[in-house]
Structure formats: C-alpha cells, structure tokens
Amino acid sequence: MFFLQANTSTTTALFLGTIGMLVLTIGLVVFIIMHQRRVQRFQQKLQQLEIDQQKMMLNASIKMQEEERQRLAADLHDDAGPLLATARLYLNENLVNQDKVNQLQSIFQARQIIDDTIQLIRNISHDLMPPTLKNFGLESAINDLFQKISGSGTVNASQRFHDYKDRLKPEKELLVFRIVQELINNILKHSNSSFIHLTQNVHADKFYLRIHHDGRGIVQSDFEKLNKSNIGLGLKNIGSRIRLLQGEILFEKDISQTYYKVTIEVPKDDPYSS
C-alpha cells in the first residue's frame, strides 16, 4: 500500500513537474518575445528622436544661413552704403563749378573711396566663395587656408593630397571646404594643438579626408552627444553638411593615443567637367 502510494506520488510529481517545466519554457519564450517587441517600440521612439534631431539640425543650418545673410546685409549697408554715399557727395553737380585743383582733389577722393568699396565688396565676395576654391579647387583652397594658419607662427598646418586628379563637383567642394574650415576653426579655438595635418585619398567611389591634430579633441560619442544637445551649432552644421553630401564623419583618437583624427568620407562623383 505504502509502495503504491509512493509510486503514485512520484508519477504525479513527474507529471506536474514536466508540465510545470514546459509551461515555464513557453512562458519564458513568450516573455522574451514580448520584451523584444517592447525594445523595438523603444527603438522606434529613438528613431523619432533622431528625426527630430535632424529637423533641429536643418533649423540650425537655416538659422546659420539667415545669420550669414544678415551679416552680408549689414556689411553692405553699414560699410559699402556710406562709402558710396560719400563718393557721391564728392561727385555732385557743383563739381563742374569748382576750380581745377578742387575738382582734381574731389575726383581723387572719390576714386579712393570707390577703390575701398571695391576692396570691401571683394572681401565680402571672398567670404562667400573663396576665389582659390572656385578657380583652382579644394586642394589649393585648403593649401591657402593652411598657409595662412602656419603664417601665424603658433600652429604648424600641413596638408597632403594623395590623389585628387578628378575634382569633386564645385558645390561638393564648397561643402567639404566649409566642413574643413569649421573643423579647423574648432581645433584652433578649443584644442590648443601645435600641429594640424590633413591628408586626402580616394578609394573605389569614395573620397576621404583625414585631419590629425595633437591637441584636445573629441571622439565620436562626444560628437553625437554635442549634436543632440542645444550647444555646438558648428558641429550641427558639420553634421547637416555631411548628410547633404551623403557622407560620413568619424571622430576618434589615434591608436597611439597621441593624436585625434577626424575622417570624412564622401561619395565621389563624375569628374569636374565645367
């Protein structure tokens, strides 16, 4: 009787135990799948945040453009406008009634003012589109920029273009140049580095630029953090320009932990033909 009872309880334990284990297994699998779904929903939220961030970058870019226009308008209004108005004063109707010496003096003054205005407009125009970039391309423009930096004597800036026979399209060159300008500005402003070196190369259908410097720099996680925050308008502009170029940017520390590197990857296009 005891043996029979013991045997019955063993089979019951076995039956219930097995059922319990199988229920536990199915429960676990369902839980994992549900949890995954929750993670996926969270991912979607993150993507939405990413879209919001892109909108913010676009707004930053538009804001930057507006600021540029305002600066341009101010330069023209405050500097070129008064200069031309002064020149007009020298060249008024009474000039013909004045004696020859005064006439010559007025014409000379007016000419001087017009020369200044030409120089001013040239400077504004160079700010908008560097002539070296337009006429001679990215390599020469970067070379010019680096020569100016090296000329200051505090930072040694050098560059090497390995393969730039086929120029990028002018609008691409301008975007890449603006990114380089912004990066160099940041390095000069924040990194306290003693040298900056830029290298260029191409591979397959990609154009690469890498900037090395030995100062304080940022890594990719910092770049992404700054991009998401409300500060770092310059970095946001870099981000939106990179996106416009359908390229990639990577901020990292050199394997030797001595230098910081920024690598830009941009898809190449047809050779510059215009």
């Binding site: 045997n7 334990a13 135990g17 097995t18 699998v29 799948i33 390995h162 290298t199 260029q200 090395h212």
Partner: protein, 222 residues
C-alpha cells in the same frame, strides 16, 4: 515506434546541413550535423555495444550532450566573464562526472549528472536570452538561429528533467509511458534545430551581403 522516429529525427540535422549547402568552415552548422550523426549512432548502434557497461554509455551520452549544447552558448555569449564561468563550471562538471561514473551505482540512468547538466544549460540559455534581448536593437530574437536552438533545448530539457531525475524510482510501465513524452520533446528539439540551421544559413548570407569589407585608403600622416 516513437523511439524509432526519434532516432531517425537525428538524421534530419546532417540532412538539413546538406540541403542548406553548409560548409565545413561554418563551425556551428557542422557541429549540429555531427551532433545529429553521433546521437543517431549512440541511439541506434552504441546502446547495443554499451549494454554491458550501461553507466559508461549514459555518462558518455550526457557528456556529449552537455558539451555540444554548452559550446553553442559559449560561442554565442559575448560577455567574457560569463564565458570564463562556463569553462570553469564545465571543468568542474566533467570532474564530477568522472567521479560519479567511477563511484556511484547506476540503476537506469545517471540522474544526478543529467539534473546538473539540465540546470547548467538552463542557466546558459537564460543568460543568453537575457543578453540577446538586451543588446539586439534592430533584429527580432526569432531571426537568430540560437533562439530556435534555445527553445528546442528548453523544450527537450524541460520535458525530460523530472523524468530523468525520477527515472530510477519509477515502475517499468511508467518509464515507458513517460519515456514516450521525452521522445516527443526530443523530436521537437531536433525539428527546431533544423529550423535553426536554415536561419543560420539565411543570416550568414545576409551578413556577407551587408558587411562587405570596407577599405579605407592610406590616410596616414607620412
């Protein structure tokens, strides 16, 4: 009949390996195929050979099963600390098995090593699933072959855990009755392993397509 079905269900693994055009260098696929062949042989032929030394047969069976399952999770778990833990605990388990096989008398099966094996594999599976669901952000867990392996092993071990623990205390007819239940769980496991093989092939094909080596040209300073 059910046992025969179980034995031949192991052959589906090498068959799936061949159908999915598995290559020898695809280690995990090969492991599953070899696992299928070895366990087919163990169940079909070797129980006759080992009849006189049954406890060695069961210990070898447990050892091989534990090794195969553990290797799968050892490969798939990324946490270095946990991988070391698996190695350490496996060494302890193997030492215990050697001690057990030499000292304990086995009536029907080596219940204690099987119980320990089940608990250890459960821990590995729980950790793997927890780790995977925490880290996989852009893919569903059921798109990973190891999920199907995990479910198969969970069903098999869950369905047979109490049976193997209590098998030495059961009546002969209960052994047959409940034994059939474990056969069903084992057949389901083998079928889920087959699904895992195809998912593995599909995912590696996608990986090869997506992760073409990205070459960055020389951008050194000199």
């Amino acid at each position: 009949m059910l046992k025969l079905l179980l034995i031949y269900s192991y052959l589906t693994l090498p068959l799936c390996f061949l159908i999915s055009k598995g290559k020898i260098k695809e280690g995990l696929l090969l492991l599953l195929a070899v696992y299928g062949v070895i366990f087919f042989c163990l169940l079909n032929y070797f129980d006759l050979i080992f009849q006189t030394i049954e406890k060695y047969y069961h210990s070898a069976y447990t050892f091989l099963e534990y090794s195969a399952f553990t290797f799968i999770f050892w490969v798939n778990i990324r946490n270095k600390f946990f991988r070391r833990f698996i190695i350490l605990i496996s060494i302890v388990f193997f030492l215990f098995q050697i001690y057990y096989v030499n000292s304990a008398s086995v009536e029907r099966m080596d219940s204690i090593p099987i119980g320990i094996e089940t608990i250890l594999i459960f821990i590995y599976i729980f950790y793997f699933l927890f780790d995977f669901s925490k880290n996989a952000k852009d893919t569903f867990i059921y798109n990973h072959y190891c999920f199907w392996l995990s479910v198969g092993i969970l069903i098999y071990l869950g369905g047979s855990f109490f049976y193997y623990i209590l098998v030495n205390n059961l009546e002969h007819e209960d052994v047959i009755r409940f034994g059939n239940l474990t056969y069903v769980a084992e057949i389901i496991k083998n079928l889920l392993f087959c699904i895992a093989i195809f998912i593995y092939k599909k995912s590696t094909a996608n990986k090869i397509h997506n992760n073409l080596p990205k070459k960055i040209p020389n951008l050194d300073m000199i």
